[in-house]
């Protein structure tokens, strides 16, 4: 059976227009052999979850630099649960204070990569969680 590539949705929830990190990480994940879909700016939690289901991704990478990460992440995770898709790996990057990380993880975020993280960190994390490939 041919191996299926890990599929990742890189998403920009909310109004935040800082897409430098999202685009850099999208490219790095693609270079690491993953299938990457980037949503573009200004996505609602509903749009992000709909895209994740439609594209059948394994990972959702959210990028927020506006300070609105708590509410937006909570809504994305709630929508995933509503759609019985809570198994998808949710990662968060951006300007996230260390003190917010335990709350985000309790919410269901698998890992947080704040500004200053190296590109290899999320790549390694995803591969460890999902293996080099995922079942088709």
């Amino acid at each position: 059976m041919p191996e299926k590539k890990i599929r990742v949705l890189v998403a920009k929830p909310g109004l935040d227009g800082h897409d430098r990190g999202a685009k850099v990480i999208a490219r790095a994940l693609r270079d690491a052999g993953m299938e990457v879909i980037y949503t573009g700016l200004r996505q609602t939690p509903e749009q992000i979850v709909a895209a994740a289901l439609q594209e059948d991704v394994d990972v959702i990478g959210l990028s927020v630099l506006s300070g609105a990460h708590m509410g937006l992440t909570e809504k994305v995770i709630a929508k995933l649960k509503e759609n019985n898709a809570a198994e998808k790996l949710v990662l968060l990057g951006g300007t996230i204070l260390t003190r917010d990380i335990p709350k985000l993880k309790a919410m269901g975020v698998a890992e947080v990569f704040p500004t200053g993280s190296r590109l290899e960190e999320p790549i390694k994390f995803i591969k460890e969680k999902l293996g080099g490939t995922v079942a088709a």
Binding site: L15, D16, G17, K23, A26, A28, R42, A68, G71, L119
Partner: protein
Amino acid sequence: MTRPVASELDAVAEAKARWTTERRVDDIPRATTESGAEIKAVYTPDEVADIDYLEQIGFPGEYPFTRGIFPGMYRKKVWTMRQYAGYGTAEETNERWKFLLNSGQPALSCAFDLPTQMGYDSDDPVIVDEVGRAGVAIDTLRDFEILYQDLPMNWLGTSFTINSTAPIILAMYIATAGKQGVRPDELMGTVQNDILKEYVARGTWLYPPGPSVRLTTDIIEYCTRSMPRFYPISIASCHIRDAGANMSDAIGFSLSNAITYVQSALDRGLDVDEFAPRLTFIDGAGPYIFEEVAKFRAVRRIWARIMKERFGARKRESMCFRFAAGVGGSYFRAEDPDLNLVRGAYGALALALAGVQSMLVAAKDEAFAIPTEETARLALATQQVLAEETDVTKTVDPLGGSYYVEALTNVKEHEVLAVIDKIESLGGSVRAIEAGYMQKVVADGAFTRQKMEESGELTFIGANKYAVKKTCDEMQLHESNPESVTRQVARLKEVKNTRNHSVVSASLKKLHDAARGSDNLMPFIIDAVKAYATVGEISSTLREIFGEFKEPIVV
């Protein structure tokens, strides 16, 4: 710089050849500009011998303005210090502004929250997490009245970082001033109003480029006619650079955007000398001191020539590249944030040496939060120390005549002109944006820089070198107040309940009809604002006619 005679230059060149061999200069490690042009180990008179001083450099306050746009520069008046501030509700921002004014800041710079920047009201369920976060929340004229409570609008200028909704914010500024008895022709300040760069970086676009440039031009035209002391646009390169472009690409793109705006104003029937003296620019400074100085010297020369030769400007003021600049953004780091103070000071030094007109230095905690009163004051004081304690203000263009800086100015001029030519070859900045070209350059630059930072090619002390594991969490940070949102939503509700509904609908209907035609929309927006129509209502009205921009996905 003296111009040595030919025999002297020959002697210098000969001596340099000897020095190069005897001192094994070719073995010295290579260095390059940010864009990769070679920087020599030392610069000598023969390398700047081709420069025609009067033609290319001249005197400050005279064409081509390489040395600065005013004859006396800071000896006469130091640059304007404007720290960017705004958060929560109008009351909270009004209080912070008063603190900054009491700390010696002469003018204001307003930060708006994202919903205000993108035409949403604070009660819109879609944006509930963003109200009052990145700046102050504005829904109606009522908020603006509170924002300027006890602040004299006839002598206090404000710079507004606002683009898509700039006409609405300008209308509120005019209407609030009116209530203070201040006329539009007395008002000072700036609206950013540079929509094109929002498609390239920063991302607060609403409508497609065509109608957006119309609104930008409406503001330029309105201010030209009615607000002679106000700057109707601040054409920005700092955001393009913070998103990943190098300094030459960033400023080259913004000059191309500027050309588009000038052409649009000319097409409107304005005379170039009517509006060009009120065009301003905003850029930033990163870790490069000499390159920044060289870049701004080169850009002053380039802009003067564009205005004179391409657009036929006759007035001296029409040819001046006047600019504000900030230090912060992607140059600041969340790791070991105290070091941002040092970065801020060096950036400010570079800008002062470059002849900046207005400066903001980000607070050390601004990489991750709204500054506290203490960090905001430290950032302001960084500028005050530079301006009032050091000798940096004592002569104009102090680096002018340095063999290095003059040679580097020529290098930067070539780099920036090449960028402008490239955009011209693509059909101008609107075409280049629609095709995703500028966005691609920015994304490529961001990726390259990330790699360089991770490999150590780009150094950030405390982050990728000599790190000591200090994080922002150890600092006292600004806490956003959840009650602000409740208060803001309650105020909006109250305004909606007490305003005259038929006046509101009539004003929006007139705006709707005018948007279909080609009239300047400013008077219609001012009427709607005076009727207490909301930012959201006005934006939706325009969206019905203009449609929404579809972002090309460029990764």
